[in-house]
């Protein structure tokens, strides 16, 4: 998207400059984009700066506002066990959810891409849970996970396994949350499916002529060709993991024993339960910086493992298999 931009800008300049001066004097484009400019200032940039400012204040929703410098950040790191607890829970959730989410979405996309008949029906089945609201999803899973009457423990009992009371078990509640989140992976699967459809068939043909089996083809053709899509989905998953709030609020309320007390929930409670607006803003900025850092690190690492086809075309001598391993830069 970014690359095609300068070209179209050039075209615009050629065909539009004279007329623009004559008719609208140059104000017209700003009038058209005005809604966005206004919304950006009032609903994005303003709040963004304001939240940074109030993070240096003791700012209750009613009462005296007081500048405390880095006080919020200091007490967050040194004086608030819930901060570390919730941060740890979110990291644990992310460590489970991100790789599983990628694996499940990619696995389903590969199955759908086998060009079997009826794949549209299967695609719909895998995508349907992503269509309904997070509240509906939480209600359904709270019933599935019910320790005494849930369908999951019934299925396990068929195999002779006595299932736990999933959502009230400190060991299993976070895992249960991960599985429920995986159920809504549909859009990621569609992105992978589109990526798979973009891989030229002849790459697989030449790989199989070279004697590569299914597994070898997966690691030597599919993974490198799909690596830009994997990068995109990796970053989206990380951001989603850090923002997970609906499920925690509705499935467990953060319990049992704070085992599912996500960072987003900690932030939410500081703001809307305890009305510590300044403190919660500091929490939010910390999360923002962590997510930015993680995104940056993933991007940095991507130079080593993401393979862009465009770069290969520039260096035709690297068309051998080693080039396909992603060392094209």
């Amino acid at each position: 998207m970014a690359q095609s931009y300068p070209q179209t800008a050039g075209n615009n300049a050629a065909s539009f400059k004279p007329r623009r001066k004559r008719r609208w004097g140059g104000a017209a484009p700003y009038l058209f984009i005005f809604p966005w400019i206004f919304g950006f200032l009032v609903f994005t940039l303003g709040p963004l700066l304001f939240s940074l400012i109030i993070s240096f204040y003791d700012w209750p929703i009613v009462g005296q506002v007081r500048f405390i410098g880095l006080g919020n950040y200091v007490s967050m790191f040194t004086d608030d066990p819930l901060f570390w607890k919730s941060f740890g829970v979110t990291l644990k959730f992310a460590a489970l959810f991100v790789p599983l989410n990628i694996a499940v979405a990619l696995g389903l996309a590969i199955l759908l891409n086998q060009s079997t008949r009826g794949s549209a029906i299967f695609r719909t089945a895998f995508y349907l849970p992503s269509v309904i609201s997070g509240v509906a999803l939480a209600m359904i899973w709270s019933w599935v996970y019910s320790g005494d009457y849930g369908i999951l423990n019934y299925i396990l009992s068929i195999f002779g396994v006595q299932g736990p009371d999933w959502l009230n078990d400190t060991q299993w509640s976070l895992v249960a949350m991960v599985v429920a989140s995986l159920w809504g992976q549909g859009s990621m699967m569609l992105v992978f499916l589109a990526g798979l459809k973009g891989i030229p068939k002849d790459l697989y043909e030449s790989a199989s002529i070279d004697g590569a089996g299914t597994i070898r083809q997966f690691f030597s053709v599919t993974v490198p060709m799909l690596s830009p899509t994997i990068l995109f989905n990796l970053i989206t998953s990380i951001i989603a993991a850090f923002q997970q709030l609906t499920l925690a609020l509705l499935l467990t309320g953060g319990g049992p024993m704070k085992a599912t007390y996500f960072y987003a929930m900690y932030m939410y409670e500081n703001a809307f339960k305890y009305y510590k607006m300044g403190y919660s803003a500091a929490n939010a900025w910390f999360m923002f910086l962590i997510v930015l850092t993680l995104t940056f690190l993933v991007f940095k690492s991507s130079e080593a493992w993401v393979f862009y086809e465009g770069e290969m075309k520039r260096k035709p001598q690297k068309k051998s298999k080693s080039g396909g391993k992603g060392k094209s830069a």
């Binding site: 759908l112 019934y154 159920w183």
Partner: protein
């Protein structure tokens, strides 16, 4: 992979994905006596369709439905109007700072909602909009980055000669947009509507933060308050869950072609 293995895996996974939905629907149809059994019954012996009507009257769900429809319609209309104007501005004009501004549009997609949530709440509180539907509607009238991006990409594919011909015929810039561009934007406007309707209908955190009074609740908020209420049984919860999932499911089936294409090309769910 062998075809039979692929089919077996596909069927197995579809069952895994469909089972919770199926379980929700059959629970909604169960009578009280079959609700809490172990081993549970997949299929109720008597299908109690009256559960739906009964559950609907436990809380004022008609009111919640009205609120949800108001929010969904007005915010979708807002997105369509504002994003079309802005996308046209970015796609068809050459002006100072355009490239920078467009990069800013894209960058705003990266900002987590949590960071701007508190000041927005304080803003709406200052305006006296807390506990009204306005915070859920008004921001939609000022565009959203993703939809602006999507519509701009679409307008760029339309031949510029059409604009020029209309301009020669004396149409203004706005006239070109309304009479030439918008009629050609059908598919992309449908996609924006579908994404916005779904995300608005399904939204939970917005209503949760901005609404306090039951008379202002949306359906998702009403459903979330249902759990743990005295005298509300699982079949009622599942009945409401099923009912409020029907519109997004219907929209999905109606517009599946657009949705699959839209997500595949941009990677983002509304």
């Amino acid at each position: 992979m062998k075809r039979s293995v692929v089919y077996a895996l596909l069927i197995f996974c579809s069952l895994l994905f469909a089972a919770p939905l199926f379980w929700a629907v059959t629970t909604a149809l169960k009578s009280q006596s079959e609700l809490y059994l172990f081993p549970p019954k997949w299929i109720p012996s008597v299908w109690k369709f009256s559960n739906f009507a009964d559950a609907w009257t436990i809380q004022p769900f008609n009111l919640f439905l009205k609120n949800t429809v108001i929010v969904t319609l007005l915010s979708t209309l807002g997105q369509l109007v504002s994003c079309t104007l802005v996308a046209y501005g970015f796609a068809r004009f050459e002006f100072k700072g355009r490239n920078t501004l467009f990069l800013v549009v894209l960058a705003t997609m990266m900002i987590p909602w949590e960071v701007t949530m508190i000041p927005q709440y304080m803003e709406f509180n200052y305006l006296g909009w807390i506990n009204t539907l306005k915070p859920l509607i008004v921001p939609s009238w000022f565009g959203s980055a993703y939809f602006i991006f999507l519509l701009r990409q679409f307008i760029l594919t339309l031949p510029r000669e059409l604009d020029e011909a209309a301009t020669i015929d004396g149409a203004s810039k706005l006239g070109v947009l309304v009479r030439i561009i918008v009629p050609l934007m059908g598919p992309s406007l449908i996609l924006v509507s579908v994404f916005q309707v779904m995300s608005c209908w399904n939204d939970y955190l917005g209503p949760l933060i901005f609404l306090n009074d039951q008379s202002k609740y949306t359906l998702t908020l009403g459903l979330s308050q249902f759990k743990g209420m005295f005298g509300v049984d699982m079949q009622s919860i599942m009945a409401i869950t099923c009912l409020i999932s029907i519109p997004p499911l219907a929209v999905f089936f109606f517009a599946q072609r657009y949705i699959v294409g839209g997500i595949a090309t941009t990677g983002i769910k509304g």
